[in-house]
């Protein structure tokens, strides 16, 4: 049986065709003042313009802050698996764009630190009754350059 996968929402991130096709977050940029938004927003919260254009966001950034989720969130709205595995959440600063909140692939707070380089990835966060994996975006610690 082939596992089918689908993104948790349309127009949230690009849906890669293969391993050499990395994902990108889909944001927007105000046509008037250039404010970058995520998720893509039709209206600008800085200049109140209603004109915006689609923009792919940087896939790398640094960890601005983080926390962990050690209890299963209330369902609904959470639709993760019944067997709960703690996960981490953080804000990653995408330079010159914005700070984006996301799940982190590393659940151990002892292995996370503010300022850590991070890169975008996709993770299956739940499996539906028919076996479909539902995928969302997350940030993973990026390998740091060794001097």
């Amino acid at each position: 049986m082939t596992t089918t996968r689908r993104p948790v929402a349309e127009d949230l991130f690009t849906w890669p065709a293969g391993p050499d096709d990395p994902p990108w977050l889909i944001g927007s940029e105000c046509a008037e003042c250039g404010l970058v938004s995520f998720p893509a927003a039709p209206d600008c919260v800085r200049c109140a313009s209603t004109e915006s254009k689609r923009r792919l966001l940087a896939d790398r950034g640094t960890l601005w802050t983080y926390t962990t989720q050690d209890f299963r969130p209330p369902s609904p709205p959470y639709d993760g698996p019944e067997t709960f595995e703690p996960y981490a959440v953080g804000y990653v600063e995408l330079p010159g764009e914005l700070l984006v909140e996301a799940r982190l692939t590393e659940p151990d707070p002892g292995r996370l630190r503010i300022g850590q380089p991070m890169r975008l990835t996709l993770v299956p966060y739940t499996v539906q009754d028919d076996g479909t994996e539902v995928v969302t975006f997350a940030f993973a610690p990026a390998e740091e350059e060794t001097p």
């Binding site: 948790v8 800085r46 969130p73 984006v100």
Partner: protein
Amino acid sequence: MTEAVIIGVGLHPFGRFPGKPALDMGADAVRLALADAGVTWPQVQGGYIGSYEVANPDAIVGRLGLTGVPLRGVFNGCATAGTALALAARAVETGEHDLTVAIGLDKHPRGAFAADPSVAGIPSWYGQTGLFLTTHFFGMKINRYMHEHGISHETLARVASKNFRNAAANEKAWRRTPLTPEEVLASPVLNYPLRQFMYCGPNEGAAALVLCRADQAHKYTGKPVRVRSTALRSRRLGAFEVQSPSFPVGEPVDSPTVDASRAAYELAGIGPEDVDVAQLQDTDAGSEIIHMAENGLCKDGEQERLVAEGATEIGGRLPVNTDGGLLGNGEPIGASGLRQIHEIVLQLRGTAGTRQIPGTPRVGYTHLYGAPGASAVTILST
């Protein structure tokens, strides 16, 4: 404009009251406040009432008396009670009413708040994937703050321990078992670095105030408490706020608490150095620490020393959350801010019993913060 003063306060205990509707708790609180003021319900000319769970809190007139009084429902998240008080005071100040009430009541089920993110204008995936939790924000905000300003895990634990100790001396508080900092640090992590006993819990309760014109206060009380200022602010672009899938890069922008606090001090003509006792939104131990600085009561990072020295204890230089705060009382959203005012009024009257701060306090300060980035500050004085 005339000035509004508080002449009566009433508090229904906070906790769990199976079978007792929120409206009944609210009616009890109003009757206590009316008795404290020495007035009867038919004398009340108007009021403002707040609740998260009760669709029509103004239905409380069905318990109190169908006098035809205008009772307006208000809601501003965790800043609801600050809004109810502000509007009640405004009604007196502008001359609309000579005698008015502010009421808050709520009855939340156990556990973290659950809602569809769409009610907050946020897409569904944010909730489905486990990001729509207010507790994340508090964990992430204090984690960043500790990194920037050198606050220790022990200080988080000391703040929680203080509030539980204060609550133990408060017969109307919910969590009345004192906990040592070691016991707080031994509780499980819920959202790093925050542990179970560093968080408040949603619960049930009600509170009410009676306000009147300052020039008529002598008819009711010898110890009116003056409403010196109220201020409410919402988040500005660039501030790090609860339930934000993203926010802009750039220079840090002040939180709505900083904005509301500055406005309230300016309106009152009172500075942070004049505050004798404060009630700050302690959704979690980290929030109390951050809010000390955001309300101008200390500099960023000074909390580490102030807490270690006991400055925020009942006998300290700047007592904070003398009734146990949200940690000790829990948070019925609509009532929470009026519970803060109730405590400040007792402190300024000198009738807070074993919780009474020493000396003759003149100025009290209360602060609320909640989703989606709203803050309310009230400054009271004798």
